[in-house]
């Protein structure tokens, strides 16, 4: 059977992104033909500004060159605007007569710059700022003329003005509104912006309405005259007063249009064979000019073109950034602060910093930042995730704080970092290499940056910095979705939340069923999704779902920690950090007998035997005769304790025994990420309960419970959760919280991030207020743990997974 024919009209970012997404989903579904009006393949239109300033060149901003089309079997017609769609015969016709039939048609005709209807608008020397031809005209004009006037003080206008200034022209920006960037900034921020741009040499005429472009003796434009009679000289006039969806072709072909090609949530037009994406569409009455929503549309349209039929386009909050070197402006969401909104502002005109946050119904809905935009990404995430902010409200304005305390000299402001500054301390990646990769490879997501540069791909503490750099480089096109909105991996479009829900709703108990039922794109998943799916299965259906060792990372598969040389480390469990002479003797004997090169005390009050050969593991475990410490797993690690009232003269409670009881109670618990507990016997807190997932502090009248602490990559202090009286309550409340975490958190999400995502109120409601719910949570935890045995004993005594430890020989 012949393949279906897909024709795309328009060769810009939204359209080509749709094709890329489609090729990922269904590489062989269509014979694809593309018509582009411009003579260029797909370039990054957002980066025209740096081309104008001379910071970048056209080859550097190409996203897909001609070879890409050829490599993917796409027929490309460049420089051929389409002039007719015959929907009856299903044929498109280009200006040069080229006619191509289609089964499905994708319209991605973009938008046109709005031209002010004033006399002189067609004079030589009057240009717009939309494509490469415009940029070339501006560069040529800058070479031989002096006076430039940019009409429009929006993002595009300011970037054009900045570029022409950089090319040596005398530039005046004319703006009808009361302040610059009136769609992105409020008045205060805009005035700060205007001052810094004036300091760079730009001139501004605000609240001026253009009446006429005056023709000079040479025939070229020579001045701009305003309604009030004033005039300024102009050898070049750039019209940057907005864009209009380009839907002429669609309208002529009889498609329903209303200030754009009208599409439904699946990006289908009124003709079911015709889809439309990008700036040309009108979706629920709204057209979009920023690139992030266009990329979202591309995903949805591709899903339907691939006949998957499950994606819907839902508009999300967007963010914008002005790409003018040395000037930092960021805005996101609804920052105008209309009805029912509260505003938090910080204004430091001398320091050149202005921040406004808009809160509505206890949620951050908008942010407008000038001068210090380091936290833009964080605010944007909060806006998109939309959870309650009252708990962090007093710190909201101060920002996310030091993003990553370790490994990059405490740097948390990407803008100010020089190119040679190290961003990723794990992999030794400096800022310059990240910027270069983003620009040269056309990267839009942190994941892409990770893949290409390795930055943020190990401990992840610099993800925030990488995100900032990405936003600085590509502005609103940066795909900085929170994990709750991101697809789990390339194998599926489902988010972690959707996947958990589906496993619950459909009662899925095996990986094979999950992949089949949820239409995974790969038969057996990948190294990213398999461990996550395996965890979701066993935590949702304990006793029913069978653990799949092949879907676990090596450490959890062989119950030891792999080291850089392929040997393993062994950490036996010492309940509550308490040991005895007999255990210590066995550890010493094992270390001698198996030539273990290092014996080290861990931070979790146990002993680590490092450098054990894999084939020796079962014998080492057997001779130690101690249970596994699970020091290798997304699981219960240690319960650290202090000496407590048994010996300590300050101790108010027997923290040691409490720790031992908790550790025994939770033994064998698998969790989304590692879990550490601590119990201190008095408020001196020698067991460091403040930086543990669950930290307990004994006081004279009972026990205080703290949750969500973390002492690793970024130090996070645990939050006070509740106070209880009895040991039994400590066990039940801790266990119930941990079970809630096990059931609701995303794979690899530590308790602190879970807490930040769902909010303390939610956790308190489920664990403290709902008494029945609490005891049910605790009962479910006990039920799940009833299936767990010591994995070491299973291996040395019962021969489980013996193939893992016996090499083949010839």
């Amino acid at each position: 059977m012949d393949k279906q024919k897909l024709v795309m009209v328009g060769n810009g970012m939204a359209g080509v992104r749709t094709l890329e997404e489609l090729l990922k989903l269904a590489p062989d579904a269509y014979d694809i033909t593309v018509f582009g009006a411009e003579p260029h393949a797909n370039y990054n239109r957002i980066m025209l500004s740096p081309v104008l300033t001379g910071e970048q060149t056209l080859p550097e901003i190409m996203l897909n060159d001609v070879d890409w089309y050829a490599d993917n079997g796409i027929t490309l017609h460049l420089g051929k605007p389409v002039v007719e769609i015959d929907r009856g015969r299903r044929v498109v016709r280009a200006a040069d007569g080229t006619a191509v039939p289609y089964d499905r048609l994708l319209l991605a005709t973009g938008s046109n710059p709005f031209i002010l209807p004033v006399p002189g608008k067609d004079l030589p020397g009057v240009v717009t700022f939309r494509d490469i031809a415009d940029v070339n005209q501006m560069i040529d004009a800058a070479g031989c003329h002096r006076h430039a006037v940019v009409i429009g003080g929006g993002l595009l206008g300011l970037e054009a003005a900045n570029g022409l200034l950089a090319r040596g022209m005398d530039v005046t920006v004319v703006h009808l509104g009361e302040w610059l960037l009136d769609r992105q900034l409020d008045k205060t921020a805009a005035q700060l912006l205007q001052q810094s741009l004036e300091a760079k040499g730009l001139k501004f005429l605000l609240q001026k309405q253009t009446a006429e472009l005056v023709q000079g003796e040479s025939g070229r434009v020579c001045a701009v005259r305003f309604k009030d009679g004033d005039a300024v000289p102009a050898d070049l006039v750039v019209m940057a007063v907005g864009i209009r969806p380009n839907y002429t072709l669609a309208e002529q072909s009889g498609l329903h249009c209303d200030r754009g090609v009208v599409v439904n949530d699946s990006l289908q037009t009124f003709d079911p064979r015709v889809y439309a994406v990008g700036e040309c569409v009108s979706h629920r009455g709204v057209s979009y000019g920023l690139v992030a929503p266009l990329f979202d549309m591309a995903k949805v349209a591709a899903n339907h073109l691939a006949n998957f039929g499950i994606a819907r386009y839902v508009p999300a909050a967007t963010s914008t950034k002005l790409k003018v070197t040395g000037i930092d402006v960021f805005s996101a969401g609804d920052f105008t602060g209309t009805d029912g909104c509260e505003q938090i502002t910080l204004s430091d005109p001398m320091g050149g910093v202005y921040k406004k946050l808009v809160v509505k119904d206890d949620k951050l809905v908008g942010a407008c930042l000038y001068g210090d935009t380091a936290d833009g990404g964080w605010y944007f995430r909060l806006i998109r995730e939309g959870h309650a902010v009252h708990e962090i409200r007093d710190q909201l304005m101060l920002g996310e704080g030091a993003i990553g305390d370790t490994g990059h000299q405490g740097q948390n402001r990407a803008m100010g970092m020089p190119d040679e500054a190290e961003v990723c301390g794990c992999n030794g990646v400096c800022k310059g290499s990240i910027v270069k990769a983003i620009q040269e490879k056309g990267l839009f997501t942190v994941d892409d940056v990770k893949k290409h540069t390795k930055a943020a791909s190990s401990c992840g503490s610099c993800s925030g910095l990488v995100e900032q750099i990405l936003i600085n480089c590509v502005g609103g096109a940066a795909d900085v979705k929170p994990k709750s909105e991101k697809a789990i991996c390339g194998c599926s479009d489902m988010t972690h939340g959707q996947l958990r829900q589906a496993i619950r709703d459909k009662h899925l108990t095996s990986l094979a069923d999950t992949f089949r039922e949820l239409a995974w794109r790969s038969p057996d998943g990948c190294a990213s999704c398999r461990p996550a799916v395996n965890y979701y299965l066993i935590s949702t259906w304990p006793g029913e779902a069978k653990d799949d060792p092949q879907s676990r990372f090596i450490n959890e598969r062989v119950h030891a920690n792999i080291q850089k040389d392929g040997t393993y480390s062994v950490v036996p469990r010492m309940w509550g950090g308490v040991t005895n002479p007999s255990e210590l003797r066995r550890i010493a004997d094992v270390a001698d007998k198996y030539d273990i090169p290092m014996v080290k005390v861990t931070g979790g009050q146990r002993i680590d035997l490092l450098g054990v050969k894999k084939e020796d593991l079962p014998k080492v475990w057997q001779e130690l005769d101690m249970p596994s410490g699970h020091a290798y797993g997304k699981s219960l690690r240690t319960v650290k304790t202090c000496v407590g009232s048994e010996f300590c003269r300050f101790g108010t409670q027997d923290s040691t025994q409490m720790g031992i009881d908790l550790e025994k109670d939770l033994f064998g618990m698998w969790s989304p990420a590692k879990v550490k507990l601590a119990v201190s016997g008095c408020p001196r807190n020698c067991a460091e309960s403040g930086i543990k997932d669950v930290g307990i502090i004994g006081v004279d009248s009972g026990w205080e419970l703290y949750i969500g602490g973390n002492g690793g990559i970024k130090t996070e202090v645990a939050e006070f959760f509740c106070k209880v009286k009895t040991r039994e309550e400590v066990m039940e409340y801790s266990g119930a919280f941990l079970q809630l975490y096990r059931e609701e958190a995303f794979y690899l999400e530590r308790t602190v991030h879970f807490l930040q995502r769902v909010g303390m109120d939610f956790i308190k409601q489920r664990v403290l207020q709902d008494e029945v719910g609490r005891s049910e949570l605790y009962a479910r935890l006990k039920f799940a743990l009833s299936f767990e045995q010591d994995p070491w004993a299973e291996r040395y005594a019962k021969g489980v997974a013996s193939h893992e430890f016996a090499p083949l020989t010839v």
Binding site: A527, I554, V558, I562, G566, H803
Partner: protein, 104 residues
């Protein structure tokens, strides 16, 4: 000259997993089995930092190195883009459930 040597049975290798063949004085060989029972043999050294590929997660036609998560194509030993590098691969055949490697 290399010659075919029987090293194990198909059943000795876990599906979506691997076994290591130890050789005196020579680099270890990892024998992989995919979900559809295809077998591949590579040098058990990641081209990145020498990680033991046999310990990685096998999915589709590739393995993720346990040390730094490089993905290595099982058929060619090539690192998947954008990473670059290659580890040696060894010819393998299956006959009546027995696995043979072309060894020196």
């Amino acid at each position: 000259m290399s010659e075919w040597k029987a090293v194990c049975q198909l059943a000795d290798i876990p599906s979506q997993g691997a076994r290591v063949l130890k050789r005196e004085g020579k680099v270890d060989i990892a024998i992989f089995r995919t979900i559809d029972d295809q077998l591949f043999a590579l040098h058990d050294r990641c081209p990145h930092k020498g990680g033991p590929l046999s310990q990685g997660i096998v999915s589709g036609r590739s393995v993720a190195c346990p040390l730094h998560n490089w993905h290595i194509d099982l058929a060619t030993g090539q690192a998947c883009a954008p990473d670059e590098g290659c580890t040696g691969h060894i010819a393998l055949k299956q006959e009546a459930g027995t696995v043979y490697l072309a060894l020196d």
